[in-house]
C-alpha cells in the first residue's frame, strides 16, 4: 500500500489521541481507521476490522434507518454522503452491535479536503444517542 496523504496521517494521529469516537475513510470510502473511543461504540477493535473497502465495512457494521429500522443504503451513510457531496452531514441512525442489539447513534461527518482542493477522504464523529437526540 502506498503512503497516504499527510492530511490523512495527521487526522489519524489526532483521532488516536481523542476520546471522541472517530471513523476515518479514504477517497473511495474505504475504511482507514477508527480510534479506541469508536471501538467502544462499534464493539470491535480496529485490529479486527483493519482496512476494509466500503462494500465490506458496511456489511461488517450494519446500519439502519432510525425511523423505519430498514437497512440504511450505502449512499445514505453520513460519512459516504460527506465524501460524495463534499459537505458536512449530520444525522441519526441505528447501529447493530455484535450480539444483535441495535443502538441509536448520532453522527456528524465531514469531508477532508487537502491543500490542493482534492477530497482525500472523510471523517465521522459519532456517539450513542440519548432518546431526545434520536428524535431530532
Amino acid at each position: 500500500m502506498a503512503q497516504l496523504p499527510v492530511e490523512l496521517i495527521l487526522m489519524r494521529q489526532l483521532a488516536s489521541y481523542l476520546a471522541t469516537p472517530i471513523f476515518l475513510v479514504g477517497p473511495k470510502g474505504e475504511l482507514l481507521f477508527y480510534n479506541e473511543a469508536a471501538e467502544g461504540v462499534l464493539g470491535y477493535r480496529f485490529d479486527e476490522a483493519v482496512e476494509l473497502p466500503l462494500a465490506q465495512w458496511i456489511r461488517a457494521f450494519p446500519l439502519f434507518e432510525i425511523d423505519s429500522g430498514k437497512p440504511l443504503p450505502a449512499e445514505h451513510i453520513p460519512v459516504v454522503r460527506a465524501l460524495n457531496e463534499r459537505d458536512p452531514v449530520h444525522g441519526s441512525l441505528l447501529y447493530e452491535r455484535p450480539g444483535g442489539d441495535r443502538v441509536p447513534v448520532v453522527v456528524t461527518a465531514f469531508p477532508l479536503v487537502g491543500q490542493g482542493g482534492k477530497v482525500l477522504g472523510a471523517a465521522a464523529i459519532f456517539w450513542p444517542a440519548s432518546p431526545q437526540d434520536a428524535q431530532k
Binding site: Q3, I9, L10, Q115, G116
Partner: protein
C-alpha cells in the same frame, strides 16, 4: 547528478567560531543534473553565495521551496540570478487553496520588509505550485506534503540513471506516533525517501531537546534513525542543524546516528559538502 550544500542550518543563520565547519547559513542546496539542470532547494541564506557561483551561461534555474518559513525564504531576494534579464527562474512552492504562491512570497519580498518586489526582478520569473510529479529537464521531481506546521512539501529528485536524492529538511514524522515508526503507509515522507540514494533530512534535536519541542515540526536523532531504517535509505545527511548546536554537538549527533544506523552511510550536512550520485 551532483548535490552541493550551501546552507544546512535550521531556524536562524548562526555564524560564529562554534559553527565554522558545518556553517551558519540556512537551508540551501544545489542539485546539478547530468544535462546541466540547476535546481536550488530552498532559499535560505546560503542562496546568496550559491547564486554568485552559477555560471552566466546558465539560462534556466528552478528554485524548489519546501515552505515559507523565513529560514527557507530569507535569501531569495539576494539570489543574484534574479537580476539577470536573460535567465528564466522558476520558483516552486507548496500549494495553497487560498492564495497564489506569488502573493504568499510577496508578503516578504515587498516593502516594508524588503525594498524590491518580485515583479521588479529583471529575470524572467515564473512561480508555480509544486506539482506532485513534474519533470525539469531530464530530472523527475516529485513533491508531497509532509508533517511540519503550515503547508510544507518535501522533494524527491530522480536522475535519468535512476539515482535519487530526497530532501526533507523540516519534518516531524514522529508527531503523535507512539511507538514510532508506524507502517510505511502511515508514515509522513515515506514515499519521498524510500530507498533513496541520499536523503537530506531534518535532525534538529537531541532526544532530550525533542521532549520540549514536540509539535515544532522537527526530528530527533532517534526519530531520524527509525525513519531512515523504515525507508531503507542508502545514505543519510542529517540537516537543519539547530542554531544553538556547535560543530562539536553536531559531530556528537552524527556519531550517535551512525551507531543507530549500522550499514547506512551517515554524512552530516555541512556547507561545502558535495555528493555525486
Amino acid at each position: 547528478m551532483k548535490i552541493e550544500i550551501w546552507g544546512s542550518r535550521g531556524s536562524l543563520p548562526s555564524p560564529g567560531p562554534k559553527t565554522m565547519r558545518y556553517g551558519g547559513n540556512t537551508a540551501t542546496v544545489l542539485v546539478v543534473g547530468d544535462e546541466g539542470e540547476h535546481l536550488v532547494l530552498d532559499a535560505g541564506t546560503g542562496i546568496r553565495p550559491l547564486g554568485l557561483s552559477i555560471p552566466q551561461d546558465v539560462s534556466r534555474i528552478d528554485v524548489l521551496i519546501t515552505h515559507l518559513h523565513m529560514d527557507h525564504l530569507q535569501g531569495l531576494g539576494f539570489f543574484e540570478p534574479l537580476f539577470r534579464p536573460n535567465v528564466e527562474v522558476h520558483v516552486w512552492g507548496p500549494p495553497s487553496i487560498t492564495m497564489p504562491l506569488q502573493t504568499r512570497i510577496g508578503r516578504y519580498l515587498s516593502p516594508p520588509l524588503f525594498p524590491v518586489t518580485l515583479r521588479q526582478m529583471p529575470c524572467r520569473l515564473e512561480l508555480h505550485d509544486a506539482e506532485p510529479y513534474t519533470r525539469i529537464g531530464s530530472l523527475r521531481v516529485r513533491s508531497d506534503l509532509v508533517c511540519h506546521p503550515g503547508p510544507t512539501v518535501g522533494y524527491r529528485i530522480t536522475s535519468p540513471a535512476g539515482k535519487v536524492v530526497a530532501y526533507l529538511p523540516d519534518h516531524e514524522p514522529a508527531l503523535g506516533v507512539d511507538p514510532f515508526p508506524a507502517a510505511p503507509e502511515w508514515t509522513s515522507g515515506f514515499d519521498l525517501a524510500h530507498r533513496a540514494d541520499l536523503v537530506l533530512h531534518d535532525a534538529q534535536y537531541t532526544d532530550d531537546e525533542y521532549g520540549t519541542h514536540v509539535g515544532w515540526g522537527h526530528s530527533s536523532i532517534r526519530h531520524l534513525a527509525a525513519f531512515a531504517k523504515l525507508a531503507e535509505v542508502r545514505r543519510i545527511a542529517p540537516f537543519h542543524h539547530d542554531p544553538s548546536h556547535s560543530d562539536a554537538e553536531v559531530d556528537a549527533l552524527a556519531a550517535e546516528l551512525g551507531t543507530l544506523l549500522p550499514g547506512i552511510a551517515v554524512q552530516p550536512g555541512a556547507e561545502g559538502a558535495t555528493f555525486e550520485l
